[in-house]
């Protein structure tokens, strides 16, 4: 029965598209000699699924919030992705084709993300999408990418617990950010007691779940408090009092967005000064972008566990920071997620070239093992589980809003979105 259904469908399609097929065949025949001269693979060979690929161009999508509350955070990602695309184009593009991008606004609204992703995949037929920032927006678009077989490059460090065949996660999953960071601070500061504090949604809760298990079972320490606050919460005095009372060796913070500004200012005002020896804070949610709002003087001395800091000293990063500032202004700062977003187009290019095709299925097949030696963070490689092998680094926040890198893991950390023993 299924077979006869398929036959019927094919017949209809043939009739409807007969003329179009005939014309495109004619065009292809007439352009073949030209393409041979240009030495690039024929469009029919590299695009068998009707993506927006022509003889000279390939179209991709950029889907971030450029309006609404998330715009501040996502702006850096948009800039990094555009910069990467422009650099790739200047180098001759991908498989001889210049990348064009269609930018859509998710408007900090998850249903809008879903709507726009459907448009990018079904109407624009983009070959890949670079986008999303919050977990909520990724969760909203995920069924659509899986249903219509798109490819999403997702830049944010996030909670893990996910491994979609249609997403490449260029940020860290939770264990990559947390485990090495806790190990380091436990050794360096002989820390035994920890206070966990975060915003109230899935990422901080999952991160603290992993942190608590690691502290209690692997570091022999204890958790003396765990508190959550609604997104946008601005009054932290009660928790600051509890912190002073229980005197933890380390405060482990995953407060996000605007709440950060209030949290660090109130800490400082309460006399908990991170630039002094007696108070230690490790955050997994503050990058150079957030310090712009918090103010360097309020967070000086805090430690952040990330994979990238703007101050990283290597050739790749020097070139990246220079190019970023040339393109987006001398005052631009680059945080962890911005760098991860910059990797997206490059990883896609590498996977497309490895596959010799823009087809999503072939790109997916070619992705595991794809490596980038030119990444600003150093060397990265795509794992079979679609996350990146990358190093964990600890930065100490400076008064000027930058981080001083005080530690980095010797080896690349293996991504493990479903960490056994941590769930």
């Amino acid at each position: 029965m299924a077979q006869s259904k398929d036959l019927g469908k094919g017949f209809k399609l043939n009739r409807r598209h007969f003329l179009a097929a005939a014309i495109s065949a004619a065009v292809m025949l007439s352009t073949t000699p030209m393409m041979a001269l240009a030495d690039k693979p024929a469009t029919a060979d590299v695009n068998t699924t009707g993506l927006a690929v022509t003889d000279d161009t390939v179209t991709v999508g950029i889907l971030h919030s450029i309006t609404g509350t998330m715009a501040i955070s996502e702006e850096g990602s948009v800039q990094a992705e555009i910069l990467a695309i422009e650099q790739i184009n200047a180098m001759g593009g991908v498989l001889g084709r210049q990348i064009q991008y269609i930018q859509e606004d998710g408007a900090s609204d998850w249903p809008t993300f879903a709507d726009r992703s459907r448009k990018l995949l079904r109407q624009d037929n983009v070959a890949a999408v670079f986008g999303c920032w919050t977990s909520a927006s990724r969760k909203a678009v995920l069924p659509i990418f899986e249903r219509f077989n798109g490819m999403l490059y997702y830049p944010t460090f996030y909670e893990g617990l996910e491994q979609s065949p249609n997403v490449i996660y260029t940020g860290q999953e939770a264990t990559q950010q947390i485990l090495a960071g806790l190990d380091w601070i436990s050794n360096e500061k002989s820390a035994k007691s920890f206070y966990l504090i975060g915003s109230d949604y899935i990422w901080p809760r999952t991160s603290n779940k992993i942190a608590r298990i690691h502290i209690e079972q692997h570091l022999g320490g204890s958790v003396v408090g765990e508190d959550y606050f609604p997104l946008g919460h601005t009054s932290f005095n009660s928790v600051i009092n509890r912190i002073r009372l229980r005197k933890p060796d380390v405060v482990f913070a995953s407060v996000v967005g605007g709440s950060n500004v209030a949290f660090y200012r109130q800490l400082k005002a309460a006399g908990l000064d991170m630039s002094k020896e007696d108070f230690t804070l490790l955050t997994i949610s503050v990058t150079e972008d957030e310090i712009l709002g918090i103010g360097g003087e309020n967070i000086e001395g805090a430690y952040a566990s990330m994979k990238y800091f703007q101050s990283l000293d290597n050739e790749n990063n020097d070139a990246f920071v220079k190019a970023f500032k040339e393109r987006w202004g001398e005052n631009a700062v680059i945080g962890d997620v911005t760098q991860a977003a910059y990797l997206g187009p490059w990883l896609w290019k590498a996977a497309v070239e490895a596959a010799g095709s823009f087809d999503v299925d072939k790109v997916r097949e070619a992705s595991p093992g794809v490596e980038l030696t030119t990444a600003p963070e150093g060397y990265v490689r795509i794992h079979e589980n679609h996350h990146l092998w990358s190093k964990t680094r600890i930065g100490e926040a400076q008064r000027d809003g930058q981080f001083k890198v005080v530690y980095e893991t010797d080896d690349l950390m293996e991504p493990n979105p479903f960490p056994a023993g941590y769930q």
Binding site: A107, W110, A140, L161, R205
Partner: protein
Amino acid sequence: MMPFNHMKDYLTRQEALSFAVLALVLLVLLPLSLDVMRLNQVGKYLSFAFVAVGLVLCWGYGGILSLGQGIFYGLGGYAMAMYLKLEASSPQNTLIQTTPGIPDFMDWNRITELPWFWEPFYSLTFAIIAIVVLPSIVAYLIGVAMFKRRVGGVYFAIITQSIAAILTILIIGQQGLTGGINGITDLRTLKGWDIHTDVANYVFYFLCVFLLFVCLLIAQFIKKSKTGRILIAMRGQEDRVRFSGYDIANFKTFVFVVGAAFSGIGGAMFTLQEGFMSPSFVGVVPSIEMVIFCAVGGRLSLVGAVYGALLVNIAKTTFGETFPELWLFAMGLIFIGIVLGLPNGLAGVYSTWLAPKVDEMLNRLLGHEKQNQEIYTSIPIVKQGVVS
């Protein structure tokens, strides 16, 4: 027993015409001219039309301005989403979890047992009943609590708004039970039937249009019934109606419950067509947007409300796709323009400028038929442009 003596008491010629044109647009023009993705978008916009139609009754006729219709839209949407989520969370689909068989977000939040209030949502029948009944009960409780105490006007608007805010905070705060800020995502099948296919999109679109017309006809019935006239009287001179012996609170509660039930159906239709539900439809901002749909369409026109919901959303998408950085400003300008220039919305424009011409044309067309002529002359022209 027919409550109306003649069909024309229920539906005037102009009204019949406007219903017919709307049916033509929604059932023929849009499905033929749009591809399935765009039609799915229109279907989602139409889910807001349910709320706008309810608001015409509450606000336009009853004079009750509710800034909390998102509560009911959300309740309906969540009821649908809970059923679909349980279906998507079968033990074999969720083997990877610590506790298979419960929704993924519960597992992430270390919940090991399905909460009691989720249990009934294994049943589709219960879910469908809940979509209508749940918002109605909540609206009834709010209505009784407010209207019996003669809370009205601005105070009522503010209270509904704060209830919407409370519900959002509750949903976001109880993420182990509700999915939190992510909402309930990754809904895939309805009774084993993939809800993301083109066929499903068409089916849900037409189901949505069908239900919308059911709601429109119910609303039209209420509008033309004695209750409808009392509502209008109440809007104008509440005290006089009360002194005439009517219990104002009951009428207000009734119309508020009807508006809530419509909104619940709209929310459920959204969940089906989008494939997820999120607290971003429950809060203050979406609730105000829903009032704007109604204002743009014309708060005294049922059909106008549908056009309002459609046009505002289409404009939002079009501006959003074309000028991502400017669309908010463009939307703002349109709203200010409409509120300042056209207090009765698009329906006001139609009834002032176009309706007389259409009538004239119809008369000329049908002029020779005695029967029709009679109907025309027997219809009292209702001037509805009165602003309370």
